[in-house]
Symmetry: C2
Subunit: 220 residues, 2 copies
DNA sequence: CGCCCGATTGAGAGGGTTCAAAGCGAGTGG
DNA sequence: CCACTCGCTTTGAACCCTCTCAATCGGGCG
């Protein structure tokens, strides 16, 4: 059973058996992290690259007024800070949402992998570009869609991403995100998030019980 | 007088005289493009990399309903599609706002530059990461700030970026962007953009006459 | 069993939208 | 040189989506 990272990268580049093995091996140093725990704070200069293996995490930024804005969800197979070495310091923080398993990969290992294995380098490139595309999609989402469209879009995005790493079955997946976290993501209030979710349930588009989310009509 | 590209990249990496010369030389094929003209459409697979030398352009996406969302402004020194070769096709379009001068650089030239000149590779890396940081900042902007804060933030960002390539003087710069384009950027209506701009003028924070914008109080 | 955090509900206020019309400035053709 | 046109800016009024504040509910955990 391949790791989420390998499963994800294979959507973007052809990896040899050797490439796959190297990737699996790089993610040896695995640590468990509790929920709602900072992996990296704004301004840090982490020595290692973090890779999510299990659980949900997020990129976020705090504002002077105390509000939080979540800028990305990180699911298994996602890197937190692949390129921070070039910029120097993090311009945002990373925190877990649910309990996570996180691989700590030394920057040097990444440098070696990318310099000696062009397919891996290309695959990592591809992954960053996909992340960037997702960021752009979020901007569209926040700028030009109503609250319910935003929510639907976000949930469908997560479904597709989790499917691509084998963590969704029958349009459903484990969803440990709080309504308040959803609000911080979409730029809405938690009250309104609640109402939007209710509406999506009433119209039969989703089922959300406890920690399990099922999307019944992905088209819209 | 260095090109905007070189001026910008020098903020992120140390370039040798040779590096600078190579960069200048790569951008030989310069073409003029009229205002409101598509440089690349969504779904295109451009053969060349586009670099803005003069004027304003933007990344944008159209929605089914006909609304447009602008996801980035491109000013002199910015690449439009540096990495599209890896993704295959554009997931958004690029259009000019004002008349522009654009350099068309063959993908091969870029590959050569980055493989033979590590400092250039690093500088281009740095530029993409800065772009990504800007995307994240926009998400924060749209999610958690009021319309007037958003507007002020956007204008200040442009001031800083234009200063960094030597196109702003005394907190003022040439600003050819339409109010409707600003609305498509911030996710507001053009009517409201107008009111916000008026308010910023009345409180003495900006002067905006014709095509020249001056920001009097950058702190806020 | 009690606590605590997250989900839910209600009511009132406000920021931003929509629709529609008028103003204004620059380029164009007569 | 003027009238015309076109595109952008400005203004007004009514509406509605979403926020804020506040209180209640509910389930998991110690």
């Amino acid at each position: 059973m391949a790791s989420p990272l390998v499963r994800k990268l294979e959507h973007g580049a052809a990896l040899s058996q050797d490439d796959r093995a190297r990737l699996e091996e790089a993610a040896r140093d695995v640590r468990g992290v509790g929920p709602r725990h900072d992996l990296i704070g704004e301004g840090d200069r982490p020595e290692e690259v973090h890779l999510i293996l299990e659980g949900f995490a997020c990129r976020y930024k705090m504002l002077p007024g105390g509000e939080r804005q979540i800028m990305a969800f990180l699911v298994p197979g996602d890197f937190c800070d692949l390129h921070v070495a070039i910029l120097g310091e993090m311009d945002h923080g990373i925190a877990t949402i649910s309990p996570c398993k996180v691989a700590y990969i030394p920057q040097r290992t990444i440098d070696e992998l990318t310099s000696k294995h062009p397919a891996i380098a290309r695959a990592l490139w591809w992954a960053t570009l996909v992340d960037e595309g997702t960021l752009r999609e979020w901007i569209v989402n926040m700028g030009r869609r109503s609250a319910d469209e935003q929510m639907a879009h976000l949930l469908c995005e997560l479904l597709l991403r989790l499917e691509s790493v084998g963590l969704a079955h029958e349009n459903g997946f484990d969803f440990p995100v709080t309504q308040e976290e959803l609000a911080d993501t979409l730029g809405l209030s938690n009250v309104h998030v609640n109402r939007v979710l209710q509406q999506l349930r009433e119209t039969g588009m989703i089922t959300l019980t406890g920690r399990r989310l099922t999307i019944h009509d992905v088209d819209r």
